[in-house]
Symmetry: C2
């Protein structure tokens, strides 16, 4: 089976590449705008919207589509978000007819009106450009799967840690930055209160699920919300004290960040659980696996 | 204020044209693939996807977008549905930046999993190509309205009666055909049981709402479900006996049609009601207004 991965030089993409290599998968095509270092598989640098690149990507048996314009960048440029976060996956859904497609969706589809607890019956009501385009893509995928036109799944990713410092376009960057600050014994102003709550997964945990989904034969039309740790930020900072000095951490809440990234209710994911998807088992495991590079 | 109407030579479009003329509106641009008879306003025949046609349509102050590929036709050709039912309204949402856009959406967004009763809190879970593209468009419109990028509303139309006989591409055609059969004293095999229920509006009632929405200054991001009569088919056939001989009507249920077009629960539309939108007051009024041409 030949596999293609888009956004393969991104943070999650590079972790996927490590996971594929660790599993002994060989026939892989990677694409991204550019590659910082030569990857262990065939690399195709370029724009996915370029017909020549696109044609090669859809010439495989299974595509894992990770390329995206992140949330803050999407909000700043809705037309760019439409091109990247909507048109490209719609073309992939059509282009991968009869074959396997795993789409990275996002918990951003739920928007800011979350009632506790969220489970598989919670219907998304997005309140951002990014969440809107991801939800539109989920609907298109579900319809194509219903018609038997495509196989695979759309998986909703929660916050993934720890992204590299200074990752552009992510409003949620602070959730990763506090991991780095702790490891480097730096002072850090946490922009939400200790009571703030988020859904977090380590890169190692999420790529296990993404690759499992890619290699499985399962098709799920309705998007699957991935399991995550429901983390209280104060508890996370305390746990981070085990890998570094967090004595310089202080709190100064940004109500906007708190509303969007720090107000998550408990999460139940029975559909993902039934598919064998597992979050990091506890906070210590999350922290240990967050630096899997 | 200059107005443009797309799909202006369709069944609803022609009724809109009569309503605009009756209200003394003068500065109107109509577009459709072709016009069967010369309309009372400036007519622009052609494909809306033609950049020259599109540029003229978005050169106005307010657009009423009616052009669509109907449900059965959309299911038969998902790519054509994407072009007509998704890409065109997305371009209109972007093209009408800062101005007014009224989108005709559809109760097809609710899909086939309706729990009684449906109200403004019912979240759509489409189960057709047509309903999926309409829902995707609703989400895009809601997001653009949230950002202040566009004004107007997306209005969900129920079954509109009585469409001309032989209207192509509509699975719901029988709901109109039984009006014609009654008026012409013909035998008719009703393809759902007398207990089947639908949501119906006369063309006269719906165009009043569409034109009110077009001329108002109100913006509603989330799509508005229009009020409709919740009609039991047996009661409708009985009432149709007042305009013709329905003695030749028999019933032979098609379970597929029953599931999609004959299983509607009671409907509450408080948001539309608050905007002054009113369904036909009773069955007799619905029947009388159904032949408003």
């Amino acid at each position: 089976m030949r596999i293609a991965v888009t956004g393969a030089d991104g943070f999650v993409g590079r972790a996927v590449v490590r996971e594929l290599a660790a599993r002994g998968i060989a026939d892989v095509l990677l694409t991204d705008r550019a590659f910082a270092t030569p990857p262990p598989f065939e690399a195709l640098p370029g724009e996915l919207a370029d017909p020549a690149v696109f044609a090669r990507v859809i010439g495989v048996d299974a595509v894992l589509h990770l390329a995206a314009l992140p949330g803050a960048a999407a909000e700043a440029d809705p037309a760019a978000s439409r091109a990247v976060n909507l048109d490209l996956p719609l073309w992939l859904i059509e282009g991968m007819a009869g074959r396997r497609l795993i789409l990275a969706s996002s918990i951003a589809v739920f928007g800011g009106r979350l009632a506790a607890p969220v489970d598989d019956a919670t219907v998304p009501t997005p309140t951002s450009v990014y969440g809107t385009h991801k939800r539109m893509t989920e609907l298109a995928f579900a319809d194509a799967a219903r018609r038997g036109a495509v196989k695979g799944m759309a998986l909703r990713l929660p916050g993934i840690v720890a992204r590299p410092r200074g990752a552009g376009g992510f409003g949620s960057a602070f959730l990763s930055d506090l991991f780095h600050a702790a490891r480097e014994d730096e002072a850090y102003v946490v922009p939400v209160a200790p009571e703030a709550t988020s859904w977090l997964l380590s890169a190692r945990a999420v790529v296990r699920m993404l690759v499992d989904a890619l290699l499985s034969g399962t098709t799920e039309g309705d998007a699957i919300t991935l399991p995550a740790r429901h983390v209280r930020i104060g508890a996370l900072v305390e746990a981070l004290g085990r890998i570094g000095d967090t004595g310089g951490f202080t709190y100064a809440e940004d109500t906007g960040l708190r509303a969007v990234f720090g107000s998550y209710p408990p999460l139940a994911t029975p559909r993902a659980d039934a598919l064998g998807f597992r979050a990091d088992v506890d906070l210590d495991a999350l922290i240990e696996a967050a630096f899997d590079d």
